[in-house]
Amino acid sequence: MSDVRITGVGLHPFGRFGELTGTAMGVTAVRAALSEAGITARDVQAAFCGTAYGGVAAGHRVLSALAGTGIPIIDVEAGCASGGAALQLGAASIASGRYDRVLVFGIEKMPKGIIRSSFFAPWQEAAGLSPAPAFFALRAQRLLVETGLTAEHLAQVVVKNRRHGVANPDAMFRKAVTAEEVLASRMICPPLTLFMLCSPNEGAAAVVLERSGTGVRLAGISLRSHLPGNVLGEDSPLSGIDDSAIDPPTTLAARDAYAQAGLGPDDLDVVECQDTDAARELLAWSELGLCPDGGQAAVLAQGDADLGGRLPVNPSGGLLSKGEPLGASALGQVVELVRQLRGTAGDRQVDGARVGLAHVIGRGANACVTVLVA
C-alpha cells in the first residue's frame, strides 16, 4: 500500500466517567492527536469516526466543537472493529490520492451490563438466544476441547494482561490478579468467569494520517467478515455446517495485512489483540500465525507473550485491563503500538520494537488486522 504515515495519536483514558459525554472524550483524544501532528482540526481534509452507540452524526459533534466542520465527516459502525473500519477507510482515502491528511478517531460511551444489540430480532432475545458472553463461552469450550487447553490457561491470559495493565495509566483496571482469583471470580458462562471477560466502558482514541513524511508507517490494514458456515461466527447464525476447512475472518484479514506489508508473523515485535474474553486472545494467537494450533500452552509456559518475552501480546493490558469502548478500542490499540514503535511507552515499553500488529474482531463479524512499522 502507498506510504501512509501516522503523524499524531491521542487518547482519552478508557473507563467510566459519569456524566462526561462521548463528544467531550472525543475532543480530548482528537486535540491530543492534532497537537502531536502540529495541526488543528481546520487542517484535515476528511474525518472518519468509529462508533457503535454514538448516535446520529457523532463524529460531526466532535469536529463541530473544534471548528473543523466543512470537510466530509463520516461515522463508521462495524461492531468491535468500528475503529479499524474507520482507519481502513481513512488510509484508503489517502492511498487513492484524494486526500493528503485525514483524521480518524473513535468514541464510545456504552451502557453497563450485557451489551444490548439491535443485531438480534426481538424473538431471539425473548428466547434467550442473544447473550454475547454465552457465545464467547461456547467458543471457549470448543477451544479447550480441540486443543487440550484448560481453564487454568484462560486464567493465565488474564493474569498476564492485568499485570501489563498495572503500567498503563489509561487502563480501567490497574490491579494485578492471581490465577486463583480469576478462577474464583463469579462464574458467568462456563468456562468463563467474570475476570475472564472484558468490561464494556467509555473512551476515545484518535490518529492523524498523512501521505508520506515522517512517523510510524501504516504498512497494512485489512477488514474482513466471516465466510458462511461457522455456527460460532461473530454474526451469531442459528445454524452452521462443518467449518474445519473455513478460514476465520482474523486469518483472512491477517493474510491480507501481512501481504500488503510484505511481512509475516516472524517479523513482529509487539502485538495488541482482541481479548474480549481470555479464550478469544488464545484463539487469535493461532489465527494470526503467532503460534501453531494448540501451541498456546507452550507460549504461556515460556512466557513468550509476556512483556520481556519473545513476542509480547497486549502490553497495554489489553481489553481485559482497559475495558472495551467499541468504537475506540481498535484505535486505542493503534495508539499503543505507535507509542511502542516510537519507544515512548514508558514502563511497558517493548525494547527495540520496530513492527507491531493490532487485531480486533466482533459483531458484524468483522475482523481488522493492522500492521505498523517504525
Binding site: 428466547a127 442473544s130 468456562p191 451469531s236 442459528l238 445454524s239 452452521g240
Partner: protein, 129 residues
C-alpha cells in the same frame, strides 16, 4: 389461548409438538435453519422447506447465569449447539435442558413456554437429554 410459537417462521406447533422449520438446497445438498431465501452456505437459489430432525447430540454447551436484555424467562438456563441427526451434519443453536448434559449426549426436541417479545406466553424450542 392456544400456545403460539415464539416466531412462526422458525417453528411450528401441532399434534406432533414442536417442529423446527429449516431449508434444504437440493444442489448444495445442505440443510440450514431457519429457512433462508438462498442456501446460507453456498448461495444456491433453490431452497425447499424442510422439517428438521427432532434428535441429535450435544456439541458444545454452557449455562447462562444472568438474564440478557429482552429475556424475561428464568435463569440459569442451558445454551449450546446441537448436531442434528442426519447427513450432512447441521449444527443448531439451542436452549438445552436435562440431566447429564455433556459433549456427545443424545438430546431430543421439545417445546418450552417463555414470555415472548410482547411478554405474552409463547413457545420456543429446547433440546433435552
Amino acid at each position: 389461548m392456544s400456545p403460539r410459537p415464539i416466531d412462526p417462521s422458525v417453528l411450528r406447533l401441532d399434534d406432533d409438538g414442536v417442529t423446527l422449520l429449516g431449508g434444504w438446497s437440493p444442489s448444495s445438498g445442505l440443510r440450514h435453519f431457519p429457512a433462508s431465501p438462498v442456501c446460507p452456505f453456498t448461495g444456491a437459489d433453490d431452497i425447499e422447506p424442510v422439517d428438521l430432525p427432532r434428535t441429535g447430540t450435544v456439541w458444545l454447551h454452557t449455562t447462562v447465569t444472568l438474564a440478557p436484555p429482552g429475556y424475561l424467562g428464568p435463569v440459569p438456563y442451558g445454551l449450546g449447539i446441537v448436531e442434528l441427526d442426519g447427513d450432512p451434519m447441521l449444527r443448531v443453536v439451542s436452549r438445552l435442558s436435562g440431566d447429564g448434559l455433556a459433549r456427545g449426549a443424545p438430546v431430543h426436541l421439545e417445546g418450552e413456554e417463555l414470555p415472548g417479545p410482547d411478554e405474552e406466553p409463547s413457545v420456543t424450542w429446547v433440546f433435552r437429554t
